[in-house]
């Protein structure tokens, strides 16, 4: 604490902050720099520290030679649809489990907590067989349904905690004014818990955007690949086209980076509310 006031302490603080920035950002710089190199530059040994000459050929290749536009579209469809469903179902369930006098609420919340940490590998084979029997392999719903279910427990926990914080008088007033239960949740309670919705939403979106095991197992056909699967299956067994992959990756980072920057506060409050899936 006292180090804050001395010059030595201040210099130490600046140096350690710079070390933190280098630790986090050096690999990110390397990804971006590589994406802007020529094919020869990517393979150069010793490596080029700066992308000179700068080239956008990797970006062109990612979208022309590979179907990267399609992968981004698939990821967006799956992640947005799942997030909307998670928020819709999660709002009502979170409200009920936080506010309505149901028996066994505690048991349900504990079960949800256990489910939210369950390893995906334990679910993958039976789900695969289920999807195959339903004829859902290589379809959007093959990912939307499991993503919705697997992200709901965390969303319910987050939203429930916010609903508990809404003063009960608000609902009373709405009820006396003649609003039905749906309208009470929709028009009175929900607007007061918007930060909770943002938090739950961005966590669901990020989890869907980055999920790999199920996307790989259920949707490996080119037309339905999401970004992680598309990137993992880029190139062939002998050549990994790093430049193209990093160009595609840089583009894939954009939506999530925008969301994270806008909803920074929500993300941090979600991370710190305890229940975290990453």
């Amino acid at each position: 604490m006292s180090s804050r006031r001395t010059t030595g302490g201040r210099i130490g603080l600046i140096i350690s902050s710079i070390l933190v920035v280098i630790f986090v950002m050096a690999p990110i710089y390397w990804m971006l720099a590589t994406s802007l190199k020529t094919t020869a530059g990517v393979a150069a040994a010793p490596p080029q520290w700066f992308p000179i000459p700068i080239s956008v050929e990797n970006y062109v290749t990612a979208f022309t030679q590979y179907d990267f536009g399609q992968y981004i579209l698939n990821s967006l469809i799956v992640a947005i649809a799942s997030t909307v469903l998670v928020l819709a179902f999660g709002t009502f369930a979170g409200y009920a489990l936080g506010r309505l006098p149901m028996r066994g609420r505690f048991t349900i919340m504990v079960l949800l907590l256990i489910i939210s940490v369950f390893p995906a590998i334990a679910l993958i084979a039976p789900l695969y067989l289920l999807m195959r029997n339903l004829g859902w392999l290589n379809s959007y719903q093959a990912l939307i349904v499991p993503y919705t279910a697997l992200n709901l427990p965390f969303a319910i926990w987050i939203l429930r905690n916010y609903f508990i914080g809404v003063p009960k008088e608000m609902e009373e007033t709405a009820r006396i004014d003649g609003a039905g239960p749906f309208r009470t949740v929709w028009q009175v309670v929900l607007p007061m818990t918007l930060p909770g919705l943002f938090t739950a939403g961005i966590f669901a979106f990020t989890a869907c955007w980055t999920e790999f095991l199920m996307a790989l197992s259920f949707n490996s056909a080119d037309a339905f690949r999401t970004i992680p699967v598309g990137i993992a299956l880029f190139g062939n067994a002998h050549i990994t086209p790093y430049g193209t992959i990093f160009a595609a990756s840089a583009v894939a980072v954009v939506p999530i980076a925008i969301l994270v920057l806008i909803f920074r506060r929500s993300v941090v409050s979600g991370l710190t509310s305890g229940a975290v899936k990453g």
């Binding site: 993958i124 039976p126 992680p228 993992a232 894939a252 990453g278």
Partner: protein
């Protein structure tokens, strides 16, 4: 949590029988409404998790015959478990997964706490630093794994270059078991340490100021204050970070799948990689289900053990 919410408290007069019955009816209606509200969510969750878990358990105790068009479950057996438990690859994967989890989580907690302490002292720019810490967290693991694969590349890799400048010759980092394991741990530590730092930082910011003032008045120096005041107060926050990191690390799949494919010589084969390979590469659904079930059982046992040890601290922050 188990307390019930009665709608309008009856203030006028005594507890009339009619009024109480009306309240009961209202409560029952609200409870029914609660189940109605939760039903869609609970049904979707049950369909995607509880049914497959039960199916996995059944499959792990059955003879599963893979046919051309599908597969057939044919009678009870313990063979799957005896195949798995006596298999040296599974035994190695179990040891590797536990060791990997313990080492990476310890390093991440120490490094993450150090980063959080630095950021806590920053006066300006803390918001931007936090935004920066979110970048590795939000990065698709497949992307970060490919990035580290390139960094470790035997020809164009930066890490290879740095090691050769330092006099290590020209190592093939991902080519030998020991260095591949270390390389994989570094990639994991880079991606998840910032996440630990954010959790610890939020815990630090919320610590009561007056405790520090008291410590300062008592003449405690910075080091003493850290160990005697900060660490004990942070324990619930760190406990939660440990819990979630352990569970995540125990199921590690994406990183070895892309970076090392579980190699060299199965050195980085985690339980999840092993289960996936058994089911989707070798089509051995019975043993694969046994791997999945034992992994899940270990996770649940670990979770329960953790909740027992840290019950008071978790309930403080969570329930």
């Amino acid at each position: 949590m188990t307390s019930t919410h009665v709608a309008a408290p009856a203030r006028s007069g005594g507890p009339h029988l009619g009024e109480r019955r009306k309240k009961d009816v209202y409560r029952r209606t609200m409870a029914r409404l609660g189940w109605g509200f939760s039903a869609p969510a609970l049904l979707v969750i049950a369909a995607v998790t509880i049914f497959p878990i039960m199916f996995s358990v059944v499959m792990s105790f059955s003879n599963v015959n893979v046919l051309g068009s599908g597969f057939q479950i044919d009678g009870f057996t313990l063979d799957n478990y005896s195949i798995v438990l006596t298999n040296s690859t599974w035994q190695y994967a179990l040891v590797f997964t536990i060791g990997y989890t313990v080492i990476t989580v310890i390093v991440e907690i120490i490094l993450g706490t150090l980063i959080a302490l630095v950021l806590e002292r920053l006066v300006g720019g803390r918001g931007w630093m936090m935004a920066m810490l979110l970048i590795p967290w939000s990065l698709i693991t497949v992307i970060s794994a490919t990035l580290w694969d390139y960094i470790y590349d035997p020809i164009a890799g930066v890490a290879t270059q740095i090691l050769s400048v330092l006099g290590f010759g020209h190592p093939v980092i991902l080519g030998s078991p020991a260095s591949a394991i270390i390389a994989m741990m570094i990639a994991d530590i880079w991606k998840t340490t910032p996440f630990v730092a954010i959790i610890v930082l939020a815990g630090l910011v919320m610590l009561p100021r007056d405790v520090y003032e008291a410590a300062e008045i008592d003449g405690a120096n910075g080091w003493k204050t850290f160990w005697r005041v900060t660490v004990p107060l942070l324990r619930p926050t760190i406990a939660l970070a440990v819990l979630f990191r352990v569970l995540q690390a125990f199921g590690v799949f994406d990183l070895p799948f892309v970076l090392t494919q579980g190699g060299p010589q199965n050195a980085t084969t985690s339980l999840a990689i092993l289960g996936y390979r058994a089911m989707f590469t070798d089509l051995k659904f019975g043993p694969g289900a046994a791997v999945a079930t034992t992994t899940a059982l270990l996770v649940v046992l670990g979770c329960l053990l953790f909740l027992r040890v840290f019950r008071s601290q978790v309930s403080e922050t969570e329930m």
